[in-house]
């Protein structure tokens, strides 16, 4: 079966209509594929946002957003993620100039901002749970912890990925393979910042107003 398939492949004239060797797509497939992954991740968040939209008003006679959310902390959190986005951009610019040490420094700063974001968020979660406003308190809090927690988990995995790439870059340099990997993480990182725009707007700001 497979040998006949490979025969059929080899019988095709090179330069025919079908580009079976794939020579015309050097490494484009990875970026498009990663983009498609991000779009599917976007659907995950869409469903979580829909869940929060449906359940966000069910407090079960418990505390609501007005009593629980600390907007100054959220503002600091948001700026941490925004700063990490721009520092990742600087890392990409240095990568394009093929300057390995500066790229690594900007990646490290990005990781620190990301860690500060996750730290602040965990601190908020611990604070809420100690106040008795844990995920089991009401449907509102269950959906809140699921939505914001999923985002925080994504950022945490992004940091792990970032550290992995930093180790790889420091070992093998800014090879084309490493540049492609850094490009993928760049999309992932900025995508998480886009999701956070939705979170701070619909969960925190609109939540406090409702």
């Amino acid at each position: 079966m497979s040998s006949s398939a490979s025969n059929a492949m080899s019988n095709t004239e090179p330069g025919g209509f079908y580009d079976l060797s794939g020579s015309h797509h050097p490494e484009n497939g990875t970026m498009l594929g990663f983009w498609l992954y991000l779009m599917s991740d976007c659907l995950v968040f869409a469903v979580l946002f829909a869940m929060y939209g449906v359940l966000g008003g069910s407090y079960a006679a418990g505390p609501g957003p007005k009593e629980l959310f600390d907007l100054p902390v959220v503002a600091v959190n948001t700026s941490m993620l925004l700063l990490s986005s721009i520092t990742y951009g600087f890392a990409m610019l240095e990568m394009a100039r093929n300057r390995k040490p500066v790229t690594l420094i900007w990646l490290a700063i990005t990781g620190l901002f990301g860690a500060a974001f996750v730290g602040l968020e965990l601190n908020e979660f611990v604070h809420l749970i100690h106040e008795g406003a844990g995920p089991q308190r009401s449907a509102f809090l269950s959906s809140f912890f699921t939505l914001v927690g999923t985002h925080g988990l994504h950022v945490s995995f992004g940091i792990v990925w970032l550290i992995t790439l930093m180790v790889q870059v420091s070992r093998s340099g800014l090879t084309p393979v490493m540049q492609r990997r850094l490009n993928c993480l760049s999309l992932f990182w900025h995508f998480l910042d886009v999701v956070w725009i939705g979170v701070f707007t619909f969960v925190y700001l609109v939540g406090v107003l409702r």
Partner: protein, 135 residues
């Protein structure tokens, strides 16, 4: 005669691959575009927080509408300046996937809110007696 041309072709190709490892797929940002996106994002983030924390408008619906509008603009800013979205990257497939996803997102979110809102408002009201005898 043919040897030097093919050799020069090869060096040119390898240099080309080296400078653009991801092909012509992702438009790479410049320092200027990243800074433009960053400054726009800071403004578009600061104003909604100021509107809510400073209680600028007495009417909450007005504030909600403005805050959501700012979020929508900021998402577009991030897409353009940080994610380098445009209609030509990957031969338009990126944009096509994005539009398809946005359609699904709108259907999922608006559909859920619509259906669940009407489910709630059409539920038979529950008396205190029913509530006590819940299964």
């Amino acid at each position: 005669m043919s040897q030097p041309t093919s050799a020069s072709q090869e060096t040119h190709d390898s240099r080309h691959v080296h400078s653009h490892p991801t092909g012509d797929s992702a438009g790479h940002g410049s320092f200027k575009s990243y800074m433009t996106g960053f400054i726009l994002s800071v403004i578009l983030t600061a104003i909604p927080f100021w509107l809510v924390m400073g209680k600028v408008f007495a009417n909450h619906e007005t504030t909600i509408l403005i805050v959501v509008a700012f979020a929508a603009v900021q998402i577009v800013v991030h897409m353009v300046y940080f994610l380098h979205m445009n209609t030509s990257s990957e031969g338009g497939w990126n944009m096509l996937a994005l539009i398809f996803t946005l359609v699904l997102v709108v259907i999922a979110i608006s559909g859920s809110l619509w259906v669940m809102y009407h489910m709630n408002s059409n539920m038979k009201p529950m008396s205190a007696h029913d509530m006590r005898n819940l299964p």
